[in-house]
Symmetry: C2
Subunit: 340 residues, 2 copies
DNA sequence: GACCATCGTCGATACGCATCGATGATCTGC
DNA sequence: GCAGATCATCGATGCGTATCGACGATGGTC
């Protein structure tokens, strides 16, 4: 592997000049620059990351703490990971994976060894054991998700409250007066991520404002629970029933439960779920969705932390950004009576 | 951040002694070791990764090149990623994400900058543009997947040939004489990953050996194609029809197509799919599966590359490891007549 | 008790880059 | 045509660790 010293010799300049050509932190004459660039090209020189990190005290690596939830929602998590990694590259950074099973010690490790300059935490829980540690680390930390106490922390998440509100508002506009929300499955609820509460809060607020009824029913990966929820929903509804099912696993089971009761989405029952556009279109009856925009959340997350890294901010920052959700009508919901 | 020099001063020894305590590469007296360890503890010292990499020429980081396939099979990919990351930790290594959209240049970058000591490539295609680059990089590279020409490369993958063979063998044993394989969806087939061919080859070989008929039918995320495939399968079958659907997206559509034709898995039709045990159990009729064991493939992948890193092997290694697949009977297939 | 091997520790150096102060070269204005 | 300002480049140093050679202390041997 060639070093900057090799490049310097090939170009007939000092090593420091090579460094300045690369960083642009001092003016370099056109002639010298050309010579150096030619030497770099010819030797296929690439700066050594370790040496660079040692000298500059910056690794240009961001640690990404990924959650470990067997099975569930893995596809969604992968979308975050993938977009975060490619966005980081746009800011000339790389992503180091930190698995959740390392716990808070993992954060201390990667920051303490100075493997990375900052951290992104996914799936932040209400009372997350990693938060006290995150607050004392002297590097920028970006949370995806909003803990109970976000003081002194930088957070971003989808606007679940808006999501709940929009779902209820849309179903109400389509003429439904009773709306049933099937909860996320227990595996998610038990994680104490509070987006569940925020979603429900938004839905309840909208219901109150619009004078419609929202009832909350248990979800679950088992069919019995959901079948029971459906029956309770039907019993409580006059007219066309409406369901909101944010959890993707719940949706599949719900669809089957409705089908076996002679209910067809878009005809004599409405369903809104959360799903990516592609997945929604693949359904036999394309699903009306509330898009929680994981890609946009990921992009902004990287942008924010890169700005913090740029600023070299020492003082404890604090901010909270919510990404608007988007509701899309497809065929699984009734059309509003007035064409709205 | 404390340095090893700080630790040395606190313990009243030389910096090099601290280094030897940590590495164990020279004998250290019990007394000195205790003093140093106490100082490390008290200062919460952690070695600087950059300096360590610079001096030792080892980063203890492995680059993981993740595929970029919108939507499809993301959950499965996440399982690879997650298991690879946590297994790497067991070998005291970390994982750096490299996204596929960087292409072959990405490999050159992370290796050239010496950000990582080795690479794992996922979803290797038959004629992968990254392979010629991989061969010339002077670091260990581990492929998950088997290219057309694996010479000079180290590969691991699930044994798809065995998988195809076992599926056919099991269905034949259950009394089916005509077996229909619904192909992966076009998005997968068009990637030219050759596991599709290997699976089909295994199935065909088993069919020939057992004297049963295997027919290949197109899959696809659209219902029309699959519905058509089902009709063609039924037309060609006397007795109870049998389907093999390795693609998860195809499975869902297939299930609906069968249901709408009055066919119930395990009763008057057999289906074997590929899915994780958890997902298989969640189905209304638990799915008999061929498990391609992504977690086991991931673990072995990390093990192999860590051994190569350990060995500091310069010469071009070459190996090919296939992980046996596991077939599990649940309720979606007929039982063999003789209880076998 | 003199000699040599072994053990434990130290000091010095190298790793490759960023960065600071210094220096020579070129230009400005009078 | 000369003092001072600006520009481009160089040399030296430090970042924190691993590692090599050296060296004093200890133990055993005859």
């Amino acid at each position: 592997m060639p070093t900057s010293k090799d490049v310097a010799e090939a170009a007939g300049v000092a090593q420091s000049t090579v460094s300045y050509v690369l960083s642009g932190k001092r003016p370099i004459s056109e002639k010298t620059r050309k010579k150096v660039e030619a030497a770099i090209e010819q030797l296929t020189y690439q700066p050594n990351a370790g040496a660079r990190a040692l000298a500059s005290r910056k690794t240009r690596v961001i640690g990404l703490v990924i959650p470990f939830i067997p099975e569930l929602e893995m596809a969604s998590i992968m979308e975050f990971v993938s977009v975060i990694a490619s966005t980081a590259r746009q800011y000339d950074h790389d992503i180091l994976l930190v698995t959740e099973d390392e716990g808070a010690a993992g954060l201390r490790r990667v920051v303490g060894q100075q493997i990375c300059d900052g951290l992104i935490l996914m799936q932040v829980e209400d009372e997350d054991e990693r938060l006290p540690v995150a607050r004392t680390l002297n590097v920028p930390v970006l949370l995806i998700g909003i803990p109970r106490d976000p003081s002194g922390l930088v957070c971003i998440d989808a606007d679940f409250e808006m999501a709940g509100e929009h779902c209820v508002r849309d179903l109400a506009a389509a003429g439904h007066s009773v709306i049933s929300i099937i909860d996320w499955q227990p595996a998610v609820v038990n994680r104490h991520v509070n987006y569940v509460d925020r979603f429900m809060g938004g839905a309840d607020a909208a219901a109150e404002a619009l004078g419609v009824t929202v009832q909350h029913l248990p979800g679950g990966p088992d069919q019995a629970t959901i079948a029971d929820s459906v029956d309770r929903a039907l019993a409580a509804t006059e007219g066309v029933p409406a369901f909101i099912a944010p959890d993707r696993t719940v949706q599949d089971i719900l669809r089957r439960a409705l089908a076996s009761r002679g209910l067809t989405p878009g005809v004599n029952v409405s369903i809104i779920g959360s799903a990516t556009p592609t997945l929604a279109e693949l359904q036999p009856i394309p699903l009306s969705t509330i898009d929680l925009r994981p890609a946009e959340v990921s992009r902004r997350a990287v942008k924010i932390i890169c700005q913090l890294l740029e600023a070299d901010s020492q003082g404890p920052h604090e901010s909270l950004e919510l990404v608007p959700t988007v509701i899309t009508h497809r065929s699984s919901t009734l059309r509003p009576p007035h064409g709205a």
